[in-house]
Structure formats: C-alpha cells, structure tokens
Assembly symmetry: C2
Homo-oligomer: 327 residues x 2
C-alpha cells in the first residue's frame, strides 16, 4: 500500500467495531488509505455474517494491503437480549463478502483477546483520544460500557453508521439493520454518555456507488480496486431492486468519512435520540427529535448525539479516488 | 349562511368524528360552506378537550351558521386502553375554543343518542355512501367497528387527520396527538378494512394560517370571519414557539379538503401503515412503509391506506376564501 505521510503516532487512533460485510470492508480500506487516522484495532459483531466470519473477512481485507499487524478480535456473536436476526446473506453474500471466492484468511492471525479485552486495552493505551467507528450492531459497545462505566471517559467519541431519522428503515419500515439487530444494545450504547455522531440512512441512502465507480476501480488494475469492484457486484445487485437501477449506498464508508472529517454533514444537529426496543412495528427505530426543524434549527444543545441529516453529495467519487491511492 | 347550490340530497354524506377544538371548528365551517358535502352527523371524542365539551363546542359552531339541525352526539370520553393524556389546553385553551368567552351552548340540543348509535344509524341511512372525517382520537371508530364488523361495508371511506410519516410527531418526537391519545384505538380503526386516507403532519405542518389570513377574516365583518379570527388567536399564539413566527397549521381543515377533493395531494401513495402501541419512545407512531420512494414510487397496491405526503400548498388562502362565503 501507499504509505500515508503523517506518522502513525500523530494520527487519530481509531477502533473499528464492525461486521465485515461488503461496505464495512470498503470503510476499512477507506480508513487504511487515510492520512488522518490510524486503525489501532478492530472488533467484530454478528450481523451481516457471524462475528467470527466477520473477523476472518476483516483479516482478508487487511491482508490485501499488508496490514495484518492490526489486531482483530472476535466480539459478540448474538445480541444482548433479542433473538438473533438472520444474517444478511441477501445483501452481503453467504460469506459476507459477496461470494467472490476470496482466499481464506489465516485464522491464526486473529487476536487471542476478546473484543471487550481489546476495547479495554486500546481505551487505556489511547486514554481520552480513542475514537470508535461502529458499523455493525452495537452489542460490543453496550457490553463494554456496562462492564466498565469508566470506559466512557477514556473514549473521545463514537461514530455510528445506523438508524433512520426522517426516512424509512431498511430492514423494516421503521428500523435500520444495525439498530434492529440489537435494539436493547443500541439503546445502551447510544445513551452511554460519550459523544455520539449518528450517520443514518437519511444520508447513507443518498451517497451512491454506481457501476461507473466500480468500472473505474476495476480498470485501475490495483489489487484494492479489483477487490472492491468484485465484492460490490453482489452488493449493487441487491440494491438494484431498492433503487430501480444499479447503485448501492456507501453506508459504512460514509460514516468513516464523517469520522475523519472528510465529509462534513451540512445538517448535523445535536438532537435527542431514543431507541425503540418494544416488540411492536417500530422496534429498532431511532426516534430522533427533529421538531426544531420547524424553526429552522433542530439543535438541542443538551443532547450528546449529533445526527447527520444531510451530506454535501459526491462522496462516492471521493471514495473511489481514495481507494485508488492504495495498490 | 349562504346556502350551497347543490341540493343536500345530492351531496356526499359526511359524518365528522372530532374533538372540537379550534382547528376542528374551522374544518366544520369549511365543510358547512362546501357545495360538495353534507354533514349528516357529528360525534365527539375526548382529546383537545373532554368529549362532552367538544360536543358543546360543536354546537356553538353550528349555532353560528344556523345549522343546529345537524345531530351532535357525545362519544368516548377516554381511550380504549391507554391512560388518558391531559387535554390540549395549551393549544386550544381551557374551553377548547381559545378561551374567547363564547356564549355557552344549549345543552338540550345535544343528540340523545350515543356516538356509536348515531354512527350506526347514519351508516344504515347512507349505506355504502357514508364518508367519515376523523379529526380526533380514533376511539369511537375503533369501538364502532369492533361492536359491528359489518359497519366497514356500509362506510365508503374514512379520512383521518393524524399521524406522522416522514416527519417528527408533535405530542412526542415520534407521535402526533390524535394517534397518541389512543394508539390501541388507532391501530384498530386504521386496519379495520375500510379505505383510509391519512392526512398526517407531513402535510398539515406545511399549510399554514398566518395573521394576514386572520386579519382578512376579521376585516370581513362576517360572523364566521370574526369568530375564526378570534378563536385562532390563541392557536397561532401556541404555534408561534413551534414555528418561530405567528403561523399555525390548518390540520383538520386540510383533512376536510382532502375529503372533499378540493385538495389533491401531489404525493398520495397507498402504503401499509402500522400504529406502534408499545410503551417505548415510539408509542403512537404511525409506521409508514415509504421505502418505495427510493424507486420513485412508494405505492403498495395491496394497501388500503393512502397517505398524503405532499400537498400543493396555498390551502390557507383557499380556506379563508371559503370561510368568507359564510355570513
């Protein structure tokens, strides 16, 4: 890979908690190519695929760019309280990576620690500076914060791809998949007391990867370009029915770009967010109090959560540009 | 009042189920001035004020235009299952009519029948033609349809002011007041099997009455103009905080205009609607499956509910014009 020019020690330390997953893989590659952040550890959670498989998929992504030095720990296989939902093979393939016959990962490279132990270690090593990007169900973060309430003070902030504020859900009419996988866990993790930036479907469904983007990636002849073009074929195929054309949302990569600051949401208010975890039709909804919009300012200054409601657009172009800096 | 020119027998028979209420009063006057519909009965429900007071307020409105011949029956004072919410004195005043020292109504003019008996009678008299406009909690309709499932076949359709599809609620971040007053009742009434048109906050919060409208009404010197200008002072006052300027939504009157067809929503898909009646933060939410928007067409052809998601605008002007045809 092309080495970023900022020394790793000066970059923002980021822990990624994910369920790799096609768009998780793209988000990881986006961050690995960033000069602004250093991924210091990765934990996985069941969601797009089983947590252990997500960890192996993560190793495949890291191997692609020679970064298997980053610790990858397997986290919660199932939600805290809820019955597990089926994995999202329709979106991500049975292997979670678009069923593209990737080489198997070297399981011996998995970190021997549990996800919670890795989170604990990293939060102490990067005390007060550690940033967390969460692109899967929020089970690991909920468990970690309940296991050690002081974790909150050692984490700078948490950026979450998840939820739906003023648009319908995707897994159900009310709920986005990451939140619906573990609504009880999400309720705990989002209200833990750390600053949260929520990157919901309101914005991720507007930043779309097209076949033209995929062709640029494939034509580059780079390992990463070829890889991303391949794994996103299945992903775009799934979303074709949702959008009526061959496009797919950049869900997790957009959240990664909000974390690095390379995407600045144009509407990004602090608002109170509550997760519905009842058993009714709104289960998994992120209830966002956006009523301030009627006075032109949804900001609730006492809220710890910022919600991205609009982004500038054009992110998929920037994403492809960034991925093409990798080999 | 100026008599409409279409003979009453040729107009669409409409039963109004309401909680009068300032905007209910305006909706009633709008319909009373319409050449297209004939109000054949009015039932009330607790909400903006107690159900009995709502009925008396309704009589005051009818007296204003010499139409106390229309039967007004008191309906459910409390929700089916839920604890009653406080009445909306902040929005509608303690008397439900903006505390403008209106003359008391003649209680002897109340119909002796219960609301359910009146609904039953009217549904048989106008079998298959009766249209219902519901501008309050849906308790009466839920009770009526459970008491007699065949009622559904005698009703042409139900137009409901209520809910919030892709915007926040008003009574809570998730819920609109009419639905939140009786979520269990709303779940029953909206899924009864009759065709429903839902007129939610998505559109009612965009059609705004201003002080200029109120001045036009007041300057007309008509009884109705003076009355509506007076009662909407409190209402606009309440909404000033919500909008940051002296305006108020035409909630119930807009639903009345959707019923008459004088407002044709520009986005009005058939979509599945489920009411959340759990005890969590989404209680009272109308979960609307608008995911078809991503393919440019949210229509679900098997759904019995149409949801007004956009209206053309300019309704408050038309409303004032209409009200000024009354004396």
């Amino acid at each position: 890979m092309t080495l970023p020019t900022t020394p790793p020690a000066l970059r923002m330390p980021v822990l990624v908690d994910c369920d790799t997953g096609i768009d998780d893989a793209v988000a990881l590659l986006y961050l690995l190519a960033s000069d602004a952040v250093e991924i210091v550890g990765i934990t996985t959670v069941g969601g797009n695929a089983p947590a252990r498989l997500c960890a192996l998929n993560t190793l495949r992504v890291l191997a692609l760019v020679g970064r298997t030095d980053i610790p990858v720990a397997v986290g919660a296989e199932r939600p805290f309280l809820a019955e597990p939902l089926p994995h999202s093979a329709d979106v991500h393939g049975i292997d979670g990576m678009g069923d593209t016959d990737l080489e198997p990962a070297d399981e011996s490279l998995l970190d021997p620690r549990s996800a919670l132990a890795l989170i604990d270690d990293l939060s102490r090593r990067y005390d007060g500076r550690l940033r967390i990007l969460a692109t899967g169900a929020l089970t690991n973060l909920a468990l970690a914060v309940r296991a050690d309430p002081e974790l909150v003070s050692r984490v700078a902030d948490v950026v979450v791809m998840g939820g739906a504020a003023e648009v319908p859900g995707n897994r159900t009419p009310a709920a986005e998949a990451n939140i619906l996988h573990d609504p009880e866990g999400a309720a705990v993790a989002l209200s833990a007391g750390w600053p949260v930036a929520l990157v919901p479907l309101d914005v991720t469904m507007t930043e779309l990867l097209t076949d033209e983007h995929r062709e640029r990636l494939a034509a580059s002849g780079t390992r990463v370009g070829t890889f991303v073009a391949a794994i996103t074929d299945h992903y775009v195929g799934f979303y074709t029915e949702r959008f009526g054309r061959r496009v797919a949302p950049c869900h997790d990569a957009l959240a990664a770009a909000v974390l690095t600051g390379e995407v600045l949401p144009t509407v990004f208010p602090r608002i109170r967010v509550e997760v519905e975890y009842g058993s009714g039709p709104a289960r998994g909804a992120t209830v966002c109090d956006t009523r301030g919009r009627y006075v032109g300012n949804p900001d609730q200054t006492d809220a710890l959560c910022r919600v991205a409601l609009e982004t500038p657009g054009g992110f998929a172009d920037a994403l492809v540009d960034r991925l093409l800096t990798l080999q």
